[in-house]
């Protein structure tokens, strides 16, 4: 097996953090050792990202409209720089997510943080997605024809 590029694991935890609420993060953090102190290098600050679609779904790009995004970058006492970009305008979530991203890059802290913060959140998020997909599946039309009934 070829080794995954180093950012793959980080992409995953950043995507989990982006979908979490501040309350989710605070809850999970209460269950693990405190994060090191950090200074904020940028933000948290809210701004816009322009969303894009494709003509016909697969063709050339067009600008669909914007969404609000909040970003934050911190450097922790161990020297790790953490970034967060999350949907919406919640500064507290972005600040926590950036501090977690910094902590998660530290090999000494990563296993604990993955186990106590990222994995439980990832499981809950996956279950939420699966629940919606099961509801959608329950509304699937099961066509039957007279021919089928006769057979």
């Amino acid at each position: 097996m070829t080794a995954l590029p180093p950012h793959v694991a980080r992409q995953r935890w950043m995507s989990v953090l982006a979908r979490a609420t501040a309350a989710d993060l605070a809850d999970r953090l209460a269950a693990c050792p405190a994060l090191p102190d950090h200074i904020r290098l940028r933000g948290p600050e809210s701004g816009l990202v322009m969303l894009r679609g494709r003509a016909g779904g697969a063709g050339s790009q067009f600008n669909l409209g914007e969404m609000t995004v909040t970003r934050c970058t911190v450097r922790n006492a161990d020297g790790f720089v953490g970034h967060a970009y999350i949907q919406g305008r919640d500064h507290a979530t972005a600040a926590l997510a950036a501090a977690l991203d910094a902590g998660l890059q530290d090999p000494a802290r990563q296993p604990d943080l993955l186990r106590t913060v990222i994995e439980p959140l990832a499981t809950a998020q996956a279950e939420q997605r699966a629940a919606q997909a099961r509801r959608a599946a329950a509304t699937k039309v099961e066509f039957f024809t007279m021919a089928t009934m006769r057979s």
Binding site: R19, V49, R52, G57, A58, E66, Y85, Q87, A136, A137
Partner: protein, 353 residues
């Protein structure tokens, strides 16, 4: 047109605003509406305000609806105004609607399409009878869940394209125009048209789309597919250098399949109109797709004679924020304009005596 500054309205305006605030709140004995209630229970209004305000933020849209007393055009206006206070961080990668986490997905052209027909939370088969249980505040039973979740499903347009029966879209790689940066100019490419339609007024798009069905630029549409669900938003911040997810948004996508007789260079095949809009907004996405297809008349060598095929007409009048600004400004003082008109009329009457 000329305007003149008139003073003296300040106290009247302050008092009018105070009354407006009181009227907005209504009877204080009735509980105040929370933003969470609007977001949760007025979702379609929130979606419409986000689409026409061209800003995806359900919480802000809920606030705008509360502030505008449910006037959705006023609420969209509030969102457009708010967005000007925020910096632009960048552009997201184009959303991948084929990977949508589907809530609803139907096709009117194939009964047995791969993945099947998912009705989702639809009004289509309701009886349009007022439900007095809702008035009584009934809590519905939980929705049914299948044992197995629905998987991501191929887009019908992609299935048709595999057979070579429909025009294919390829990415020319050109950077799309942006109406939030450059004012509308003509000729307007499909990128600009789709952006304008995505934030266009639902009522206008419905009426224009309807007009094409009634013969004003007909193109024999079928709903190839309508899908509603969540797509992931992905950006690549320069300081990271790799793509990250920043959240999920709900979109409605409509792909129309339209008849096309072919031209000198192109064999007969199906063509398409495309609609994509924020939130769960099927009427909007369908209107958008009908009008998108109508505006492609000239490109496809068809006669462009109907209003919906007139690109300038459609794009200049699809934006309800611009429309409401220009129409409603007529309420503002035009005392001097009118005075000059009055004098002109009096002079003309004198002359004819």
């Amino acid at each position: 047109m000329a305007y003149v500054a008139v003073k003296g309205g300040e106290r009247a305006i302050d008092n009018a605003h105070a009354w407006l605030a009181e009227a907005r709140r209504g009877n204080p004995a009735v509980p105040d509406l929370t933003l969470a209630q609007i977001q949760q229970q007025m979702g379609r209004a929130v979606d419409r305000v986000m689409a026409e305000g061209a800003l995806y933020d359900p919480e802000l849209a809920a606030l705008a609806i509360k502030q505008a007393q449910g006037d959705l055009i006023e609420a969209a206006f509030l969102l457009r105004a708010y967005r000007t206070t925020l910096p632009r961080f960048g552009y997201a990668a184009p959303v991948d609607t084929a990977a949508m986490a589907l809530r609803r997905r139907i096709s009117a052209v194939y009964k047995d399409l791969p993945g099947g027909q998912l009705l989702g939370p639809t009004y289509d088969y309701t009886h349009r009878l007022l439900d007095f249980l809702l008035a009584a505040g009934a809590t519905p039973p939980p929705a049914a869940e299948a044992a197995e979740p629905a998987a991501a499903m191929p887009r019908v347009a992609d299935i048709l394209a595999q057979e070579g029966l429909i025009e294919t879209h390829t990415d020319t790689g050109t950077e799309p125009g942006d109406l939030t940066r450059e004012p509308l100019a003509f000729p307007a490419g499909r990128d600009i048209r789709l952006q304008a339609l995505a934030r266009g007024d639902e009522g206008f798009l419905l009426a224009m789309g309807y007009s094409t069905q009634r013969g004003w630029g007909g193109s024999h549409p079928f709903v190839g597919e309508l899908r509603v669900g969540e797509v992931t938003v992905e950006i690549t911040p320069p300081e990271l250098g790799f793509a990250i997810d920043i959240g999920d948004i709900t979109l409605t996508e409509c792909a129309l399949v339209n008849q096309f007789k072919g031209s000198k260079t192109v064999p007969p095949q199906f063509t398409s109109g495309y609609g994509l809009t924020f939130g769960h907004a099927e009427r909007k996405a369908m209107g958008m797709a009908l009008v998108d297809r109508a505006m492609r008349a000239e490109e496809l060598g068809e006669d462009a004679t109907a209003p919906a095929q007139n690109i300038e007409f459609v794009l200049y009048h699809s934006d309800n924020i611009e429309g409401t600004g220009f129409v409603e400004h007529l309420k503002l003082p035009h005392y001097v304009d009118f005075q000059s008109e009055l004098e002109a009329i009096r002079r003309m009457r004198e002359d004819t005596k």
